[in-house]
Symmetry: C2
Subunit: 531 residues, 2 copies
């Protein structure tokens, strides 16, 4: 099934906002209903395909399947941009100025290589396309050249399982549920469940250093990856002969996070784990974000580590965004404090033992066990926030998320700085926002902060957001955070990324790119500034 072209997910799952929320938006944020809905797909007239004839012929020669090169309007529109809120606002308005000239669907590694060679020879850029879920402009290259969306959906097989080593080799076009299903059949799980799980792909998880909601237990995706096969215009790179090695720099870690700019990932060997027989998610209440943060830190540093560990701040707890389905529906107490979701997955025995130990720690940190209801609600709604955003946009509100990470000692300052930047810029612009935050991922030495902003849209919603996002990015860097913990860099974060890693870091990446992609056809301007 294809994703909704103008929003998120399966159109059948779209749900309008409850009236209570519409009222809240109006009364609290001054949101006024939109006069018109999104453009109709059939009404959008994209610019005519810009693929030069010779390039078309070369691409047709590179792929075998008869429909592996598509230039029709719908295919191209469905591969335009990603799923950030500005992306959606623009596509809903029928803006497709950054549309690909064509969509190409190679069937295996060799076809990917052939496509890249054809692109390099004919000066056509190529943007790898998995689930199309980028929220950082990763699918909109900065280039005047025509470009093709290199859709990897045909590379959708589980090619190897090594049950002794507990590894599996997955092709990049597998979506989260497809990969899980193939592994679950054999009794294994990857344990990677980001919010984009239902639509994002294995190749995208690797290319963008995805992090799932169960990362406390299963680790980030980049920590699961043991081997990668990468196609570049200059040939193939194979990495990962051993789980760990002292044979030079870890080239896997150079490909992970490269967002298509250094090559196309055509196979990913990952660590797999036994399918858990037991899963429990509980709600814990803390008096303040500070108290909850201290509890999470203690579990992350001294253990035992739960499988899922997240903490909403006061406003997110109040709004109940952690359970989007319940938004506005519950009669909330005046000060609900901060809600944490703490989950355990594993064998019955191991889970029970770990939960008992973690409970002691949480109680010692003045946590109050609320029970399984908030955990079940969280589980039920864990992939639904993007649907909620569509409904908010429909209702005339603006809603966007952004995220960062830092060492523990920097977390309080980072939280305040980003919150203040968002609040003050939006308030000054005449649309005071609701800013919510949660700690989404924890590590021994730090954590990530995930912010959600809701406000009225302003005159031109895209232009209205731009200075706000800039202010948030500046605040992140000034407060010692990284410009992204799991969304990635794309084109939206590129300038801040360059500040984060400095001129020499950028030069190192540019040098690698020039070596593997001398014609500069791989996702130009994504991640790495064009030299």
């Amino acid at each position: 099934m294809d994703m909704l072209w103008s929003g998120w997910g399966d159109p059948a799952k779209a749900a309008p906002l409850p009236d209570s929320v519409t009222g809240l938006l109006r009364d609290l944020l001054g949101v006024t209903p939109r006069e018109s809905g999104p453009a109709a797909l059939a009404d959008i007239e994209p610019p005519a395909p810009a693929l030069p004839d010779k390039a078309r012929a070369a691409l047709l020669g590179a792929v075998r399947a008869p429909d592996a090169l598509r230039e029709d309007a719908e295919s191209r529109i469905r591969h335009t941009r990603g799923k950030s809120t500005p992306d959606l606002l623009r596509i809903r308005a029928g803006e497709v100025d950054d549309i690909p000239a064509a969509v190409v669907l190679p069937g295996d590694h060799d076809e990917v290589l052939a496509v890249l060679r054809a692109c390099a020879e004919h000066g056509v850029a190529a943007v790898p396309f998995g689930g199309g879920t980028s929220v950082v402009g990763g699918l909109a290259p900065t280039t005047k050249r025509p470009f093709v969306a290199l859709d990897l959906r045909r590379l959708d097989r589980l090619t190897a399982v090594d049950e002794v080593s507990r590894t599996a080799t997955l092709q990049p076009g597998l979506r989260g549920p497809q990969a899980e299903a193939l592994l679950n059949e054999k009794g294994w799980t990857l344990g990677h469940f980001p919010q984009s799980f239902e639509w994002a792909t294995v190749g995208g998880f690797a290319a963008a250093r995805s992090s799932g909601q169960a990362s406390a237990g299963y680790g980030r995706f980049d920590e699961m990856v043991l081997g990668l096969t990468v196609a570049t215009p200059e040939g193939t790179l194979e990495t990962g002969r051993a789980p760990r090695s002292a044979a030079g720099p870890d080239l896997r870690q150079l490909v992970l996070g490269s967002e298509g700019a250094l090559g196309v990932i055509t196979a990913v060997t990952v660590r797999i784990r036994p399918l858990p027989s037991k899963r429990i998610y509980e709600g814990w209440r803390f008096a303040s974000f500070e108290a909850g943060t201290a509890a999470l830190r203690r579990l992350a540093q001294d253990g035992p580590r739960p499988t899922v560990l997240r903490l909403s701040d006061e406003s997110e707890t109040f709004i109940g965004l952690a359970q989007p389905d319940a938004i506005g529906s519950a009669a909330l107490p005046e000060n609900p404090g901060c809600m944490a979701i703490v989950g355990y997955e594993g064998t019955e025995e191991e889970t029970t033992a770990r939960r008992a130990l973690a409970r002691e720690v949480l109680l010692a940190c003045d946590g109050e066990l609320v029970g399984e209801e908030p955990g079940d609600k969280w589980e039920h709604g864990r992939y639904n926030a993007p649907y909620l955003r569509d409904a908010l946009l429909d209702a005339g509100a603006f809603a966007e998320t952004l995220e960062t990470a830092a060492f523990w000692s920097a977390i309080p300052g980072l939280y305040t700085a980003v919150r203040d930047a968002l609040t003050s810029t939006l308030t000054e612009a005449g649309t005071p926002p609701l800013v919510m935050c949660h700690i989404s991922h924890t590590y021994e030495n730090g954590a990530s902060l995930y912010f959600t902003v809701v406000s009225a849209q302003g005159e031109d919603a895209v232009a209205h957001w731009e200075p706000v996002k800039r202010a948030a990015n500046d605040a992140i860097l000034a407060a010692g955070g990284t410009i992204s913990h799991h969304h990635g860099v794309g084109t939206d974060h590129r300038d801040w990324y360059a500040r984060e890693i400095g001129p020499l870091g950028i030069r190192m990446l540019q040098a690698v790119k020039a070596e593997v992609d001398p014609s500069g056809v791989l996702s130009p301007g994504v991640l790495i500034p064009v030299r």
Copy 2:
């Protein structure tokens, strides 16, 4: 204190072999005593310093301390090569053809930068020198240029401790015990105890991806590193704003393992842990290497993970090399099986609980608890094997170690292939060896194998070993192993490394090197083939 120039460690700790071992060497391996000992340091006449006058002046301008540029024979000899067995055999014979032209001792990051700029300007190569413990030719560049040993011993401070985030920033010249002492004072530990611990430095641990004997509990050094400051001829690279990030490739992992070829590490921010109040090491006996391997794999995959986990094969167990001090002294049973050392470090409570659970697993895997005596012996002798090697060389024997890692399913084949390669080539050369092995490090998805070879020396001991080492390296690659799990690549493994990562991988590294070191002065030929 300086390391013994012609061998390992503190000369006061040298111990001759017990007569029983000398007898064993003679009877079992045909080792005949050497007629002469090592050359005397004072008798070695190195080639006159080859530093051009302009380069000397520039280097003197780059460093402030009066004795920061040394060209005397002893300083240069003490910075010649590393500590592989061929390295020692050659230096004991007075061979110093790969001696540095000078030793330069910068005092801080800016002086390192200035030294590198001076080197780049005057075409003098620079080889970073920490503890001088490389066993892979990492200190002997492949170059006809004069080179300086860039000794980092003056960068020996703990510059920051963040007790909330549990991180510390260490300068690269700190030796293992110095770094531990500085952290222990404040109640923290790094938990990194490789065999070279007493002499190797923090910078070397990072540059060569060191792995310690407690890696099951504390992780490898490259897993402890959170931030790096790197000086290159083109400027400074700062990495690590957060424990984990999705902002592009992980540049830390490009510097880790770069062995001085991409820059000089001048600061390392590491994860620290509370100093354990309890440490227990136990011996467990298994009927076979296969049975023991299965037990280790089960602990590594399903937990609980001990802090120390290693398993000797039958021959290593028999010889008792795991306790070098006891070699030949005990009346061994006819078939002692395979000895594992299983250690736990942490709080009293946590250690007790973890040990109880691990014991259940080990018993279920048909392990037999021998008790704490083998563990205590292992702990007592854990840094002594290099002293034993010196004694073996003195006695006329040849002794060397090599190591690799692979996924679990490849471990049995890798074990047999390397063992056979060592045994057959040495036997064919007329010096049948004793080959011993242990699993030194374990991961969820694989393990490392550490081999020790002892034989008679043959006519020309260095030349005699060369084809044997080549055969072992070939066997490692053919059986799916990585060319090094923790010793590194240096110059000795460079050709096999190039085969392991392939031509495109090498080109990527060469491109980065050309960018940060356009004059090619950083450890030329170490790790990365000269383009």
